[in-house]
Symmetry: C2
Subunit: 216 residues, 2 copies
């Protein structure tokens, strides 16, 4: 019944298994959460025996930590590019706004956040790691962009970091919280666009350079 392994392959591709395990664990942790995911299930999903899991990871917590660390790297890949000078500044804000909002309410982001938030009370180090790799990086890039814009006279000079936080908060609206809580079945493109448009509008009204004042 069982396939007879030839003696030729005792240690077959050592890298492969780890990736299978990490991917399988990620899927299950995101979908069912930490506590509700069993090592049995991970082993089955990864098509590996349970004992093999414990060869690569000391325990369930370590496996979870590895998933989070891997997760953080893959998030926050949003295109904040200062180039493309031909583009209208407001149009650029709209583009960034949409990109950021799309990322924040994407199903993968949501299930990812749920997984981490649910355990953040018990594993604060992982929460911090996740924030730094995700929202932290995004805010950093946005801050740089706004700093340049302020220097270039596109925006009123002020705290660029604060501006970045506010911009994210404005285009996020309460859509992310609603997504985290599973409030909406589906959010239409129109709703999303409306939030971004209003957010950019508010942001720009507050940060645009006054035509009259500031004659330094």
């Amino acid at each position: 019944m069982q396939a007879i392994a030839s003696a030729q392959e005792p240690a077959v591709r050592p890298r492969r298994k780890v990736e299978q395990i990490l991917a399988a664990a990620g899927r299950l942790f995101r979908e069912h959460g930490y506590a509700m995911t069993s090592m049995d299930a991970v082993a089955q999903e990864a098509d590996v025996s349970k004992a093999t899991l414990y060869v690569y990871y000391a325990g369930k917590r370590e496996l979870f930590a590895a998933v989070i660390a891997d997760e953080g790297d893959q998030r926050s890949r949003v295109l904040i590019t200062g180039e493309d000078g031909a583009e209208d500044f407001r149009a650029k804000l709209m583009r960034f706004g949409h990109a950021i909002q799309d990322l924040l309410i994407a199903p993968e982001t949501v299930s990812s956040y749920r997984m981490v938030v649910g355990e953040a009370g018990r594993l604060p180090d992982l929460g911090r790691l996740y924030y730094d790799n995700g929202a932290g990086r995004l805010l950093g890039r946005l801050e740089q962009f706004f700093a340049s814009a302020m220097e270039g006279g596109k925006l009123r000079a002020s705290d660029a970091r604060r501006a970045a936080e506010q911009f994210v908060g404005l285009v996020r609206g309460d859509l992310m919280l609603r997504a985290l809580l599973g409030v909406d079945e589906r959010v239409t493109a129109q709703q999303r666009d409306s939030v971004v448009r209003a957010g950019v509008d508010t942001f720009y009204r507050a940060y645009r350079v006054d035509r009259e004042a500031t004659p330094e």
Copy 2:
């Protein structure tokens, strides 16, 4: 060893036990999350036998649902009062901003949100209930306040609901997300005030009535 109950009290205060159970379950679920809280622990914390739990609640999920429903009612009690005409409008915004922010990053709110968010994927109805009773109510009251303010010429006329969402987003900053992820050990009053101040400033710049235009 055990106290001998007099025959006078077979069904002692039927209401009492339920409250004990609900309170104990709430504490444990908030602290340890759904999956990591055992019915044994709840029974012990509530000073009740495990069998008694199952008299009042069909199972663990039902108990959790009861906790969430109870929880939602108690949140969102923030004082948004339109009266007090003597107060400067910006000062009022600052007061509301602080009250809202305080609520959002309060430890009870954070552990509460963690508990619900962590399970929202499996129990979407509870997530919606929680949102409606919490953030939903808050936004509703704030919307009313802004609508009055717009009508009274204190703010530029526009979508009051959207303004409410943006106001909350601005005074929240990313403090709540950081709190949910356990990023900061402690947030100083100075940091909090700084976020509120900047948020109100941005909000007011965007929504104040232009001195020159709008001569309808």
